[in-house]
Assembly symmetry: C2
Homo-oligomer: 357 residues x 2
């Protein structure tokens, strides 16, 4: 390799796009660690640590929104996105002996997640690091580690580590309920579906980039397990495209925010074939009254009329639809950032590891 080749910067956005494309393999790598998930679930059960407290920021916190539904739908346990501030800043001490703590951090270095896990362990919680770096400080601080096994993620905006966090939460919840094999099979099927659909999804997302170049404000709407997807797609658009995109549940939309809509304010809707679909369809009708452009994503994207449709395959388990429905959003962010002349690998003002408190 010549020295000029060695220093050549990769094409803007090439890391982000290649990591999106790598997601089927990343999911398969996660499944190689199924035994560790079974073990952590068994320990949590034995200790009666049945209140699941999840902590994380950014994409990790979005994955935690999914965790609420993974545990709620698969197990009898309650999972919550816990307040980091109460423990770390307000210095409150709680008896956590009945809790499993999941510290979610791609890098395993997020300072206040680390500190939360350290204190939770001191106060009796069963602490688990869910991280892409099993040799990180977070992994040392926690009693157990669940590796994300997504492979090194170099683009600043998370993609494959988000997907593997979502899959990891489904797998852990399934093992808690003694249902690990079925969900692992479901994740394996999703990896296959995603692999065969990616080329078509890339083309569809690309076609959407041009008309959205000058969009300043967007909503992204999901309900139930797909609220996590709405949060993650909005975050991708914020950080890579500088588009002010905001996530809402279909119901929250009606409780005020709908008033801001107009024809220049498009709404991305995630419609998946589950029990929340009627609420999403109802929200779409409300959006239409305000004249807003509708983008429909998800495996039930054809459940209503939309200006743009980005359908994904239906997974074998409805619970796993967020693993598929987020991908058109990632690909759209990739295409839109490039159309705007931005580099989604290195968004202005962001670093891969956020040390902010």
């Amino acid at each position: 390799m010549s020295s000029s080749e060695a220093v050549a910067a990769p094409e803007p956005g090439s890391l982000f796009l290649s990591e999106i494309r790598e997601q089927p393999q990343a999911l398969r790598r996660l499944l190689e660690h199924e035994k560790e998930f079974a073990h952590v679930a068994a320990v949590a059960r034995d200790r009666g640590a049945s209140l699941v407290r999840m902590v994380g920021h950014g994409s990790s916190d979005n994955a935690a929104s999914y965790g609420v539904y993974a545990f709620g739908l698969l197990s009898p346990w309650t999972a919550l996105r816990d307040s980091i501030a109460l423990t770390v800043y307000y210095d409150r001490v709680f008896d956590m002996s009945g809790s499993t703590v999941l510290g979610l951090s791609q890098s395993g270095q997020t300072p206040d997640v680390l500190e939360y896990v350290r204190r939770a362990r001191q106060h009796g919680a069963f602490t688990v690091a869910v991280t892409n770096d099993p040799s990180s400080e977070l992994a040392e601080v926690a009693e157990a580690v669940l590796p994300l096994a997504a492979g090194s993620e170099r683009a600043v905006a998370a993609t494959k580590t988000y997907l593997n966090q979502v899959a990891a939460l489904a797998l852990l919840a399934a093992h808690v309920a003694g249902d690990g094999a079925r969900v692992a099979d479901g994740i394996r099927s999703v990896a296959d579906q995603l692999e065969s659909e990616l080329p078509a999804l890339e083309e569809q997302a690309q076609a959407l980039a041009l008309p959205f170049q000058y969009v300043g404000r967007m909503f992204v709407i999901g309900r139930g397990s797909e609220f996590a997807t709405a949060r993650e797609i909005a975050l991708k658009l914020l950080e890579t495209c500088r588009t002010a995109a905001w996530p809402l549940t279909a119901t929250d939309l009606a409780h005020g925010p709908v008033a801001v809509l107009d024809p220049l304010f498009p709404v991305w809707t995630i419609a998946s074939r589950d029990e929340t679909l009627p609420a999403v369809v109802e929200a779409v009708a409300r959006v239409r009254e305000f004249g807003a452009t509708i983008v429909a994503g998800g495996d039930a994207a054809s459940a209503f009329a939309a200006e743009y449709t980005l359908p994904v395959p239906e997974p074998t388990l409805p619970l796993l639809s967020p693993l598929l429905s987020v991908v058109p959003g990632q690909l759209f962010a990739s295409a839109l950032a490039r159309a705007k002349g931005l580099d989604p690998d290195r968004p202005h003002g962001l670093a891969k590891i956020t040390l902010a408190r």
Copy 2:
């Protein structure tokens, strides 16, 4: 009264503004019900119902964000904003015998909050309606009622019922911890402080309306107990001013969304004198690097340089600062809506009672 006077519509925004002004009295009316709060806390303690599940939409859900901190700071109990969808749409059954459920609804008619409370009660939860209408269906469905006692609220956008929900959650958490009298005194002091400051706050908010008329996108930042305030101010701006304002914690800002900022994207920051202030000050420095205009609200508004400052008095108990720091946001929404020719009493497309699922 002549018939022409009888049918004259009130001046646009007059209901909204008069209800903001009425908040000191509304808080005092709530305090007349202290015994009911003491009673509900005693029942919850006796039943060991120490996991507090809060459900609500819109402003009620924003108040629930405060409830996480009210219980977390005043009591040893954990409070969470529970998923309504799991219980109501996905039809999941959980053993709720260790839970206190707080159904938050101004009208007491929100359909899925009603349905959640009904089912939670069937599954063993101690269910409490926190509502402005103690004769509502929600009050009938729940075992106990805590009246908000805010008086009839006629503007579509909530103000005094939000404030009384926040105060109600503080009061209930305090009674759980046997600390009711101190917090009731604190709320009484806040009512007095607010009453004497309101005229000055109105003037300051009015002065901010003119330069913000053409702002399309805003962030509102709070941390800890003030995240609820950030959510509520953003919601007021969305629903009454059609300004796309979005709430973030100071930390979440750094995990991606900061990348969207520019000089046309102002940031409203709530700075209160508590343990989270350093995180807010750090976030402000980050915002400044992007050239965004900063509005500083809260009792520590002078902790950093800002283009606009909306200080409020320091409450006797730091935990109660959200009762004060939200008011400049309400008043700003009132002034900005009028400057834009909008009617904050009746925002386009919204009704006082939202029946959406």
